[in-house]
Amino acid sequence: MSLRKFISNKTIAALAVILTVFASTSAFAQAAGAAAETVAKPVDMGPVYKTVIFYTMAFLLVCLFVAIIGKALKVYELTREAQDQPKGINWNTVNGVLFALFLIVGLYGVYWEYTVHGNMILPEAASEHGKKIDQMFNITLIITTIVFIATHIILFVFAYIYRSTGKRKAYYYPHNNALERIWTIVPALVLTVLVLMGFLTWRSIFYKIEDPNNKPLNIEITSSQFAWAIRYPGADGIVGVKNYKLINSINALGIDFKDKNTLDDQTADEMVIPVNKPVRLILTSKDVLHSFYMPHFRIQLNTVPGMTSYFEFTPTITTEEMKVKTNDPKFAFLFLCAKICGEGHYKMQKEVRVVSQAEYEAWVKKQGTYLTDDLRKEFNLPVAAAPAAVAPADSVKKDTAAVKTNQLALKK
């Protein structure tokens, strides 16, 4: 084959292709530009198309560059061949070396990621069970990182060392039962340990024995498209019954006020919880699936329409303490939605404040009740005389609180 003829044919073909591409791009751009002139009045699309053309050109230039390098390599190899010299570039060596380089740079990259991005992740868990989860996470992280680094070193080092040089024959080694047994049993053992730990942690999170002296604070969360509603139980400690069929414009949660437990239920704009006291979340949804996600406390559970789910936890760090620990004066706990729920999915959030017991009691007194005058009329409840009937008998202090909140509601 004539070398010169070969090259010139290919070059001409390549040039022709590039020319057509250029021509068609510019033709397209002109057509689009013309269309823009006639239709688009508000935005001048000229500069936009120019930018697009610029980037297209830049990319085509890169392609051209690659093509030229490819051609040059080909010419080089063909000349070597024509002069009966050994092949110019040993691609096995090139790729083997690249794998070795990738290993070194990659290991540094992993180190950089672990130290830089690894420092940007969530602070320590702010709940009792969260500490156990973090512990498990760290153990798993250590094990997997060791395996990750070791296997990658083996993979890329083998790729480098055993690249073909054309002088060697590979070692015929179809199997070794002892080896295979080892790397079946060792992962199995490690995983058994992880499974057992995970299983016990999981049980400790979801199977809680209630301590009668330390009853959890019930808080009901209702998700709806793009908002959270928080309901506090009021003085009686019980979140009353609700029924979705009762939902209307004045009764957004569908609370059934025929149930006496509902009468003192309180609304809140944020979730405020006392530190070191168990909290029981009652999670419900009004429309589609959402997911109640409170990352700092290692809590997540979906909210499902038609099904109530529960999550009990004990916060251990107050917001103020966390501000100090994270060295961030603006730090705030929050919960958000983690299950795709519609176009406002990315906005659903509420602030959470963990405070001392005293601060909590002061705060909770100020919260209004769900029951309003309109609702009293709807449920045929006496408008003014309610407080006495509502108040639970066991605590005078709480009793007055209930009266006050109801009076507040009346004034509204």
Binding site: F59, T140, H152, Y173, G306, E343
Partner: protein, 626 residues
């Protein structure tokens, strides 16, 4: 059964030979019943869908990187979905939904299994065609129809489905909840039913072909690992896909006929819906009963392909052939009982969470065995870095990186805080996204000569591999840390949350890496399409491989082999066998021709053969000792 179909194809073959059978353009390229052509149809459709889905991902990466910036050019193409040059939140969700659907189902299921099962099953087991060529053709056309219907949802006013690729009801059931759940979701569901029909027809065909139509001597334990992988994948698909159809049909009933399988106690705004007694969790069980086997449907063919490619290019037998098969079988069986790990935090009974955690972590064992066997295959090999080999090694790397993070997510306790965050996104994009697509690309580079009779440019292949490999890691590695910071997935913008602001720069970086990765695919596309017409003519066995497909002529013919189908005598991995002159011994070479390299275990206890071998060794002590 097998004799009948074999007989049929023989008849067909003789028609060809006598030139009576005239193929028109329509029967050769469009409604072809030849498995090789159908494989190419699947591949090219898969590539087109992959390019589309990749384009969609670049669109939403633009939004994530520059949430405040306007790109007027987007409005030119997307109209009201990107008014003012900014993608709207509901269209963003449509983008992620369709990206996921196309990639998982159309590219990595149909594009991967459809291409390579069709191409390789008959060629590697020695059959003239599939058990049912007509069903095979239907399988492609149902797939094609599914693709067209899925894409058509971009041309309707309310836009494509946008409830995520898992389309959890009630969001997917109620058009009032999101615009994409109107006509777009109907099209999604119809498309999915057609897709499942296609994959069932394919799967049944693959299973029956492998079971009934192997050539003489090709017993199950002499099949290449590719065939084992395709075979088990097909079984998995046949058993699990119907469950998805069941789920989809119930969802169609809920959406269009007022039933309440998945719906209960729902109020949209202040409008109380009449549905009672259903459960959204039911959908999740049905969906993930397919959905989890599905990820193995995606990865197993890729693992099969890489086993073959790594063995051929290391010039070594695959290490632990039997262990590889048993681990594939283990994965197949276990994958049916792990689906609940997608549902740890749905509010499902916590007892189930514990059970599913155990089964899930058990499945890591066969996966680990496979990884170590790959590494052992490379050990003391004579590695030739063809582009296919590079991609296969890339697959092993991704499989390790993504597999290890699976240990976090499979642990129910850790999943509480990682569920639906970017950690999950990073995990599955590495272990099933990147790994499977690398397996597919390895397959394309490796069997391109078989498909098109020409070679692809290996240098462009190197460029393609390195750019893709590096950019895939740059895209997905940092995403783990977003997840560890509690950033949920499918968020339109990070602007609403104070704590997410610090990740905006990372998002810009990831988007640039994704753009470079996407542009690198141009090297592949150019290489692929240019080489079909202008590539160097391929020799019959370009990689010096043992398997049967390389004994067929380069020019395709209907029926694959011009004469009789070759007989198989040995396993497919006799590479660099000591005592042999060449470093590969094809499956069709009988042991009587390789006396100098035979080993005791080759005869599988056949005393007659062992006796002959002993006699030969006694006569030729010098050679035998080597």
């Amino acid at each position: 059964m097998s004799t009948i179909s074999l007989h049929d194809t023989h008849n067909h073959d003789s028609h060809d030979d006598h030139g009576h059978h005239k193929e028109t353009f329509l029967t050769k390229y469009v409604f072809s019943q030849d498995h090789k052509m159908i494989a190419k149809q699947f591949l090219i459709t898969g590539i087109i869908m992959a390019v589309i889905a990749m384009g969609l991902s670049i669109l939403f990466r633009l939004q994530l990187a520059w949430p405040e910036k306007s790109f007027p050019i987007l409005e030119t193409f997307l109209g009201t979905w990107a008014e003012g040059g900014r993608i709207k939140p509901d269209f963003y969700l449509a983008l992620v939904t369709i990206h996921g659907t196309i990639m998982v189902f159309f590219v990595l299921t149909a594009g991967l299994s459809g291409t390579f099962s069709n191409l390789l099953i008959p060629l590697q087991i020695g059959a003239r065609d599939m058990a049912s060529p007509f069903l095979n053709m239907l399988s492609y056309w149902f797939f094609f129809g599914a693709c067209v219907i899925m894409m058509s949802s971009f041309f309707i006013q309310t836009g494509p489905a946008s409830a995520g690729w898992t389309i959890y009801p009630p969001l997917s059931a109620l058009p009032t909840a999101i615009k994409g759940s109107a006509l777009g979701m109907t099209l999604w569901l119809i498309s999915m039913i057609m897709f499942v029909a296609s994959s069932l027809m394919g799967g049944i065909n693959y299973v029956s072909t492998v079971l009934n139509m192997r050539t003489k001597g090709m017993d199950l334990w002499k099949m290449p690992l590719t065939i084992w992988a395709f075979f088990l994948t097909a079984i998995l698909g046949v058993l699990s896909f119907p469950v998805l159809v069941a789920g989809v049909v119930l969802l169609i009933f809920d959406r269009s006929f007022g039933t309440s399988f998945y719906l209960s106690d729902i109020v949209m705004g202040t409008q109380v819906l009449p549905n009672e007694g259903g459960s959204p969790i039911l959908w999740q069980h049905l969906f993930w009963f397919l959905g989890h086997p599905e990820v193995y449907i995606v990865i197993m063919p890729a693992l099969g392909i890489s086993s073959e490619v790594i063995s051929v290019n290391s010039r070594k037998p695959i290490f632990g052939y039997h262990a590889m098969i048993y681990s594939l079988i283990g994965i197949t069986v276990l994958s049916f009982i792990v689906w609940g790990h997608h549902m740890f935090v749905t509010g499902m009974n916590p007892l189930l969470g514990g059970v599913f955690m155990i089964t899930t972590l058990i499945i890591a064992v066969p996966s680990a065995v496979k990884t170590f066997n790959y590494l052992a295959t490379l050990w003391r090999g004579n590695i030739r870095f063809t582009p296919a080999m590079l991609f296969a090694i890339g697959l092993v790397s991704f499989f390790i990186s993504g597999g290890l993070t699976g240990i976090f997510l499979g642990n129910a306790s850790l999943d509480i805080n990682l569920h639906d965050t970017y950690f999950v996104v990073a995990h599955f994009h590495l272990v099933m996204g990147s790994a499977a697509i690398f397996g597919m690309l390895a397959g394309v580079y490796h069997w391109y000569p078989k498909m098109f009779g020409r070679m692809m440019s290996s240098k462009l292949g190197y460029l393609h591999f390195w750019l893709t490999f590096i950019s895939a890691y740059l895209v997905f590695f940092p995403l783990h840390f977003l997840g560890l910071d509690g950033v949920p997935r499918r968020y339109y913008a990070f602007t609403e949350f104070e704590f997410m602001q610090k990740w905006l720069t990372v998002n810009v970086f990831v988007t640039w890496a994704a753009i470079i990765g996407a542009l690198a695919q141009v090297a592949f596309l150019w290489n692929f399409f240019y080489s079909i017409f202008k590539g160097k003519k391929a020799p019959q066995n370009p990689w010096e491989s043992n398997t049967l497909e390389w004994t067929t002529p380069v020019e395709h013919l209907h029926g694959n082999w011009p004469g009789e189908i070759p007989t198989v005598y040995r396993w497919p991995y006799d590479y660099s066998k000591p005592g042999s002159e060449t470093d590969f011994i094809p499956q069709t070479v009988p042991f009587s021709q390789t006396m100098s390299s035979n080993m005791p275990h080759d005869f599988e206890g056949n005393t007659e053969a062992e006796r002959i071998q002993r006699e030969w060794e006694a006569k030729n002590p010098a050679i035998a000792e080597k």
